[in-house]
Symmetry: C2
Subunit: 450 residues, 2 copies
């Protein structure tokens, strides 16, 4: 059942575009799912893509456009006239249309909106553009089914038929009063099972979860996940029903958030993919590497302070990468658990309690690894016991400090409204490298007295 | 509208449990959403939690149980009789019931199933238990609405009313033939807008996405996301409709997958949360730390081979943590991008092309950072130019090798069916540490000739 894209198929399409064989092209593409067409277009160059977008019906291409990568879409839109873009938007749900239009220049936005024939649709899109893209207002669509509490079930079904034409999927039927204030919801199941003359007021469910237009996207995602909602109504500051958010938009949002955290942990500062340009990849990666390099400078400086050890205890310097690596790994483990705990709201208890737990945990791990290090360094590496003891004590201390930093930093960032995921990855490893080396040599100096 | 859990409320509940004041407890809890009750139970101890689960109606507690952490749920179930568990399962959808029952011991499973009164429900649960939990069969629920292609719309609505009682949410109506083979689907919208005497065969949509019971969860998630599906029917090997998967189960799945990748990148080998026990946390963290320690041993050994440099070029040893850190960071960046590309299926092109791209990219970054390192080490750290040049050339080389390893390893793991996310985090940083130090000293030896 699944469409499988093949190199031969792509070649065929490229050839047909070259021949401008519109009839054959349409024949090949018209039955495909829009997500599949988007996959095909990803393999073509800009001219070919634009040609196909212009050729196919905008009912289809509107959905295809939504599936494309933002960068590619921008280039294609640059090749379309304002009228052509308006035709695409006409076919889209208002939330998608607003997303697309917000990618255009201010000037172009006006032109495109002026070209939309359906006045109500244009007004809805303009309304959505007013909200921040990461707020419930920015995520919602205007398409929904609403009925008045004073209607009967029969009248309601008639009205729904009319409204359903604009709505791709019927999730819930919302009940409003004469002033459009959200009163509750109706389930389709209920509509199926009661008499046509029943008043809506008698059967609607007055308890309904909703969010305000200004609620942040993360909060909307949290609520929809917690309460397992497939759609949530959005109200304005007066409590009037102005839109709804569906779970498919939130799925994308959750995935994007998770990817962002993952990338931050890996030291990549913005959404970047394997196929992005050298420039975009460098922009995302270089700042973190630069940060790590600066941290490295400090680590060199710190090591240099203990140059005196080199004559009699040169072997200590062989262990600096081990100490630094362990500090980094422990720090990342601690911070990752905290970042995830913050993200899914499962982090209870006080900061002190949490730090205490991490100390005990890393002491536990630290003692075990220190014993392994003590005997390993003696038997495997042939190091003197006094050096082994020094390195082992340092390892334990470094692990404890590293886990404390890894716990403290993300919690503190979060407290001040900064994304705690920033603290994972290069930031934690670099600062733990420096502290680790400092602690290591300080302990060595204390024990060995160089 | 949102319920806000307060310390006072928790205290009140604890007090009511202590007093065994059932009436007040029910009054306080019965109107709350099951997700909120689960949140409250998370704050109580095991005895209190069990008391409340036994007190409340199983229609409510069945959903509460699903929201609890697996560990907590296990403990609570241990305090319930087989009959009590069976009562809970009776209220659950088959997919949830199967999930719960699979957490019990083999012996207990039989007892519980024998206690389920609804024979059909029990049989459905047993059927689901046969599938691997990560397959479509393991993810699906048996609750769905299906109609025969030979029926009329009117008959269909009557039959749907009957079936709808068992189905929490009506997503799609599936159309089957006399042998239960999946033929297509009906949208509710269509049912609203056609005459009652129309035959289903005339109006159903014959194209419908579906998955096989053996399809892997990742693939189901990919298809549902790609085609923006809210539910997908599941067929057996004979093409018969046997269940459906809804997007809310997939949302959890997507989140869990993302969390798993994130944890692997941070060196945590299984699903673990901040509030888990010391033992569980140690089990998840220690193996990676042990791996890093072993890698550290090798790094010490490698450094030791270049002991000869210590007399005249001791300063080189101050730079090993810097080189190791840069190797680790570059490696993690490369592997994270590859792992994400594999996860969302956006990774095209050949391995050679991808490695080439990484070489160019890291050469670009490497040259920039090497220049900074050259001048920085001279002016900030007071290092001789010849040492600066040596370290800079080594940095460039190390960055290129690290990015190649970071790209090659996850792609290769994936090729052999191993989770590529295993390659990120400690594994990549540790191996890059070793290679980095080896390359660094080798280049230094070549240039400085110690």
């Amino acid at each position: 059942m699944q469409f499988q894209i093949s190199p031969e198929f792509i070649e065929k399409i490229e050839q047909l575009v070259a021949e401008q064989n519109n009839k054959e092209l349409q024949l090949h593409l018209e039955d495909l799912h829009h997500a599949d067409i988007a996959e095909i277009l990803n393999e073509l160059n800009l001219d070919e893509t634009t040609y196909i977008i212009k050729l196919l019906d905008s009912e289809k291409t509107a959905e295809v456009l939504m599936e494309l990568d933002e960068d590619d879409r921008e280039k294609i839109l640059n090749n379309l006239s304002s009228k052509e873009i308006a035709d695409e938007l006409e076919e889209m749900d208002t939330d998608d249309a607003a997303d697309i239009i917000s990618e255009l220049s201010q000037e172009r936005q006006g032109e495109v909106i002026a070209n939309i024939e359906d006045q109500e649709h244009a007004a809805d899109i303009q309304e959505l553009l007013r909200y921040h893209e990461n707020s419930a207002g920015g995520l919602m669509a205007k398409e929904l089914i609403k009925v008045r509490e004073t209607w009967t079930v029969g009248g309601c079904v008639r009205e729904m038929r009319r409204q359903a034409e604009n709505v791709t999927r019927v999730h819930s039927i919302y009940v409003v009063d004469a002033k459009d204030k959200l009163k509750g919801r109706l389930s389709l199941k209920d509509l199926l099972t009661v008499d046509a003359k029943t008043k809506i007021a008698e059967i609607y469910i007055p308890r309904v979860d909703y969010v305000n237009v200004h609620t942040e996207g993360e909060e909307v995602a949290r609520i929809m996940q917690k309460y397992d909602l497939e759609a949530i109504p959005v109200v304005d500051d007066l409590g009037r029903l102005v839109g709804r958010i569906t779970i498919d938009d939130i799925v994308d949002f959750i995935r994007d958030e998770a990817e962002k955290d993952y990338q931050l942990a890996a030291g990549i500062s913005q959404d970047v993919e394997a196929d992005d340009s050298f420039f975009k990849q460098t922009k995302a990666r270089l700042p973190w590497l630069f940060l790590a390099l600066m941290g490295g400078f400090i680590a060199v400086k710190v090591s240099g302070q203990f140059e005196g050890a080199m004559v009699n205890f040169g072997v200590l310097f062989f262990f600096t990468p081990l100490i630094a690596a362990m500090a980094g790994n422990v720090g990342v483990q601690s911070s990752a658990i905290i970042v995830q705990g913050i993200a899914n709201g499962s982090l209870g208890g006080s900061l002190t309690k949490r730090l205490l737990k991490e100390v005990i945990l890393s002491l536990l791990n630290g003692v075990l690894l220190a014993i392994i290090l003590l005997f390993g360094s003696h038997f495997l590496l042939g190091v003197d016991y006094i050096i082994g003891i020094t390195v082992s004590i340092a390892l334990m201390s470094v692990m404890i400090i590293a886990s404390l930093i890894g716990t403290f930093v993300p919690i503190t960032l979060d407290k001040y409204g900064i994304d705690p995921a920033l603290a994972t990855g290069p930031f934690i490893t670099t600062s733990n490298d420096i502290f680790g080396i400092l602690i290591y040599f300080s302990i060595a100096k204390l024990i060995l007295g160089f």
